[in-house]
């Protein structure tokens, strides 16, 4: 019972608010939610460096794609290439309908899920880039599509969800 008894100072008592400390800490500015994308640099010359590069891996098999993405990430860590982000795109589900036209028309369904993982890299020197590409290509597992491309704003926007109500209101306003 001694544990349960809580001595909370009531509001009229002089000891009200005795345990407060947050007013002593420095004030934190609340962070803005949306991040600005434009982080790209290409320095031309003998040390030609690529800006942000996306390595996109797509496949139907989830475990394979995840393990391959992990392998690529670790490889870049070992080769001291800066990996800015490593994320997954939402999975797409495809229904395969099968129209058999012998006798009775039957529709056999198959449900395929397509998974995509993206590893974003920065600061790749152009002398090293083809070697990296070759290493990744030679260790590509079966059934995995590989795509290396430069990061654009459209790629960033594709990760965000569109808000139809906001767009409607904006259209009404302007």
């Amino acid at each position: 019972d001694a544990l349960l008894g809580c001595h909370r100072s009531y509001r009229s008592r002089p000891t009200h608010g005795i345990g407060k400390f947050k007013y002593l800490l420095p004030k934190e500015v609340p962070k803005k939610r949306k991040e600005k994308v434009q982080m790209k640099e290409i320095s031309a010359g003998t040390e030609y460096q690529y800006g942000d590069i996306n390595i996109q891996m797509t496949s139907y098999d989830l475990c394979l794609v995840e393990h391959f993405a992990q392998y690529v990430h670790r490889l870049c860590n070992r080769l001291s290439i800066q990996v800015t982000e490593s994320y997954a795109m939402p999975t797409k589900t495809n229904e395969v309908l099968y129209l058999e036209e012998r006798g009775s028309k039957m529709q056999l369904d198959a449900v395929l899920t397509t998974h995509q993982r993206v590893v974003q890299i920065r600061g790749l020197s152009s002398t090293f880039a083809p070697i990296l590409l070759e290493v990744i290509q030679s260790s590509q597992p079966e059934g995995v599509h590989l795509l290396m491309k430069q990061h654009t704003e459209a790629d960033f926007k594709s990760r965000l969800k569109s808000r139809p109500e906001l767009e409607e209101l904006l259209a009404e306003m302007s």
Binding site: C63, L108, T127, P130, E134, V135, S138, E142
Partner: protein, 243 residues
């Protein structure tokens, strides 16, 4: 003012790789690892919709055998049972026949065809005349002043395989260099020796029917390179080949 003529002649050579089409067979440890991982994943995973349906139907069948409860439930059921679906899929799978991994060209060891050794990289070797010797080399062509070394290598590829080759050259930087001095008889002040710069390219399409073969060419793997190339040349070439 013109720079003093250098004593080295420059060549650009192209190493054209045909990428493997199939994965290589796994080693013993890799196979054991794969089996272990599959078992772990199977035990960790949850039942899918199909398997749940199958289990429910099995239970219902069992209950039907014992007593005739589920007459009402059976009416709402679909005609196709999960077990039938599985059997249908099994039959379809058995009917599917995969393409053979070892092709005809492998059996006959025909080194001029591209269908050989589908699980490893194949490189192009061409017979060229250097000095008064006929040697097997990677296709090379002399560098003309005013063009980049990469375009020299592309020209080398075009002279031996024709113009319509879909190959992707990797980068502007050479992968390796081989330099040799001419024998004393031919050596002059301006012509001490030659330097060959190697570039790499990936063959995109495997259709070479449009290619005009100007000289004998072979497609060889890294291990078979030793049969054709000279030892010094081979050493430098092996430095930049991944396998």
């Amino acid at each position: 003012s013109a720079a003093a003529p250098r004593p080295w002649r420059l060549f650009g050579a192209m190493c054209l790789l045909r990428l493997p089409r199939i994965s290589q067979p796994l080693e013993k440890e890799e196979e054991e690892m794969v089996a272990l991982m599959e078992q772990i994943e199977l035990e960790k995973s949850l039942y899918s919709d199909h398997e749940m349906r199958k289990l429910e139907e099995e239970e219902q069948l069992k209950r039907k055998m014992e007593s005739s409860y589920d007459e009402d439930e059976a009416h709402g059921k679909t005609v196709i049972m999960a077990q039938d679906l599985e059997e249908k899929w099994e039959q379809k799978f058995l009917r599917f026949k995969a393409a053979p991994r070892i092709t005809d060209a492998d059996k006959s060891n025909n080194r001029t065809s591209l269908n050989r050794k589908l699980d490893s990289n194949l490189m192009l070797l061409v017979k060229q005349k250097i000095g008064n010797q006929e040697l097997w080399l990677l296709p090379q062509v002399e560098w003309q002043p005013g063009e980049t070394l990469r375009s020299t290598a592309e020209r080398a590829m075009a002279t031996f395989l024709g113009d319509h080759i879909q190959a992707k050259v990797l980068g502007n930087a050479p992968y390796g260099i081989y330099k040799y001095k001419f024998p004393r008889a031919i050596r002059t002040e301006n012509n001490v020796g030659a330097k060959v710069f190697f570039f790499k390219a990936f063959l995109q399409s495997s259709d070479l029917s449009q290619a005009e073969l100007k000289a004998d060419c072979l497609w060889v793997t890294k291990k078979e390179l030793g049969d054709y190339l000279k030892s010094e040349y081979l050493k430098k070439v092996n430095r930049f080949l991944l396998d």
